[in-house]
Assembly symmetry: C2
Homo-oligomer: 345 residues x 2
């Protein structure tokens, strides 16, 4: 199946389970990590027909998503004498995709790149939207570019080797999109199992369609695209407090969704029974829904460390009943502290 992503500056296609052959009359550099390389490099190489094909393996994990790893990717491109027509292929999860995309965006002022995401999270989230970047000491993704891929290939076969914890973390983002944008899809997720191949394909397709619609309306995240951050305002603080080691990103988002929902209930835009249904769906995929805050004041202060809040008010994305969203700014500190206090015991 194919989804056309139609952005003002560029259009491209996301192919789901349709990768037969990538034909390129150029040099190609595949950027991957050791895990994915060990499992799947032969598969991907058998599907690429290029002038020359090089593989660059970089260390995996958020902590390697930095300037040094980026430089090592660029360095290899120079060594292979890649030119402006060369193509990078990101073959891995979100970290590989973000770094490869960023490298492509600045190599000789920008070359093409193709995404072949190998995690559920990367397939439904990172592969659409064109956000690329690296972390630094000041925070996550603070250096980067909006750079759209020329094509995305989501192959569910690569998800077969994904540890279940990582699969479930990807589910958090799928559930997130259903809650704020699509009630029918949410209800479908409640009654169907994604461990059935056709269902998995369907869920990936639905999620990409939702995200593509949002992104095409707001490529540079100046408006509605912020809604995709539902669960993330709380989630980022949790990731930060736990030093990005205890929870996977999707797990922190899962807890963030639960916290945001408590706030939404408090503001009477979400019912208790809806919040329970969300929690039940998260638990269906063994996602964490509780968190013990040590200090509500410190937690609250960390909202302001997020780059999106510099210089301005914090924006909370909340569900407005299941299937709709609401953006709340200027919430009183006391209301927020009260919500956070529910997570201290």
């Amino acid at each position: 199946m194919q989804i056309n992503i139609d952005l003002k500056e560029k259009s491209y296609i996301v192919y789901i389970d349709e990768l037969t052959k990538i034909e390129l009359d150029t040099k190609v550099v595949i950027v991957t990590n050791p895990t994915v390389s060990t499992l799947h490099i032969k598969t991907i190489l058998s599907k690429i027909n290029a002038l020359e094909c090089h593989v660059v393996t970089v260390l995996d994990g958020e902590k390697y998503k930095n300037i040094d790893t980026l430089n090592s990717i660029l360095e290899e491109c120079f060594k292979f004498r890649c030119d402006r027509k060369s193509v990078l292929i990101a073959f891995g999860g979100g970290v590989i995709g973000d770094m490869t995309g960023f490298a492509a965006s600045i190599y000789q002022r920008g070359i093409d790149f193709i995404q072949v995401p190998t995690t559920l999270l990367a397939q439904v989230d990172a592969s659409v939207g064109g956000k690329t970047g690296i972390n630094n000491q000041y925070g996550k993704n603070l250096i980067g570019a909006f750079w759209q891929p020329s094509a995305v290939y989501c192959e569910t076969v690569f998800l077969k080797t994904l540890p279940s914890r990582e699969f479930n973390a990807g589910m958090a983002e799928i559930i997130k999109m259903a809650i704020t944008f699509d009630k029918d899809f949410f209800e479908w997720l409640e009654i169907n199992s994604l461990h059935v191949d056709d269902n998995l394909q369907h869920a990936i397709e639905k999620s990409i369609l939702i995200k593509a619609d949002v992104v095409s309306r707001d490529v540079r995240e100046e408006g509605i695209r912020a809604v995709l951050n539902y669960g993330h305002t709380f989630g980022h603080v949790i990731e930060n407090e736990t030093k990005y080691s205890k929870y996977l990103h999707g797990e922190a988002v899962s807890i963030g969704i639960v916290m945001a929902n408590e706030l939404a209930c408090k503001l009477d835009i979400l019912s208790e029974s809806e919040a329970k249904r969300v929690k039940k769906l998260l638990l269906k995929y063994s996602l964490p829904v509780t968190y013990k805050i040590q200090s509500v004041d410190k937690f609250y202060d960390r909202f302001y460390l997020d780059k999106k809040s510099l210089n301005k008010k914090i924006k909370f994305i909340l569900p407005h009943s299941i299937g709709n969203f609401s953006i709340k700014e200027n919430l009183e500190k006391e209301i927020l502290l009260n919500i956070l206090r529910n997570f201290t015991c």
Copy 2:
């Protein structure tokens, strides 16, 4: 006077001698170099009205146009807690403009920047086109982005303090554009002195109009924009051979124009008398028109070191009589060596 630069992705205005006040309801970081700062920082500060205004001074010169200086600019932006609405102002020559623009393009995935070029070269060449970048061990501008400014202010007052050698180097680019695109402008340059204020304004305007027209037809340098490289194929080799220390960029381009013209004469698309007129105009601005090649073979090989030639044939941009251009590929090596031999004594 105002020139509207209308690109597909973005439009902005180049103001010539119209800088009264830059009003910004955001944080602003002015990036400049010690020379420009000493001479003009008060002037520029008096014209900026912003929420906060910081000045970052970085070392000047092509050899500092590297990743370290780029990082130091970004670092200051983080220290000042710049957000996505903050604006960088490039206040200096081409090196400052290229680095500031690149920093703006990757800071939090891209923020606005304004160019206030203080050299003639930067006003007529670097300020229009959106090319930003840094050098590395593999060559010039190999890492970078196409990132358009939100506005450009060309103030001739800043050119008053420019050393005449630098002024003349800027003239080389103006002359270059006249030769390939505008016969009338070339003839106007032959009879008028740019040391008259009104004439200088006029020449800057004409050059920007020519460049804007070319760039708007080919933002990402996939076609006609290459014509702006007239004189540069030879010029880059000269800069490279002399380790970027003997000649200013414009001076190397001046020699490159003379070399390209000899080739054009050889190919019968330019007359000897036209080549003489060009040389005379270059000499009017004390630009170098001779160069002693030590080894024609080495010089020839260096054509292929230029990034634009990786993996492909070298493209020569030549004048097709004054006011028009011709692009020649697949020229026989012997023809080129013959031209180069003219410059060995």
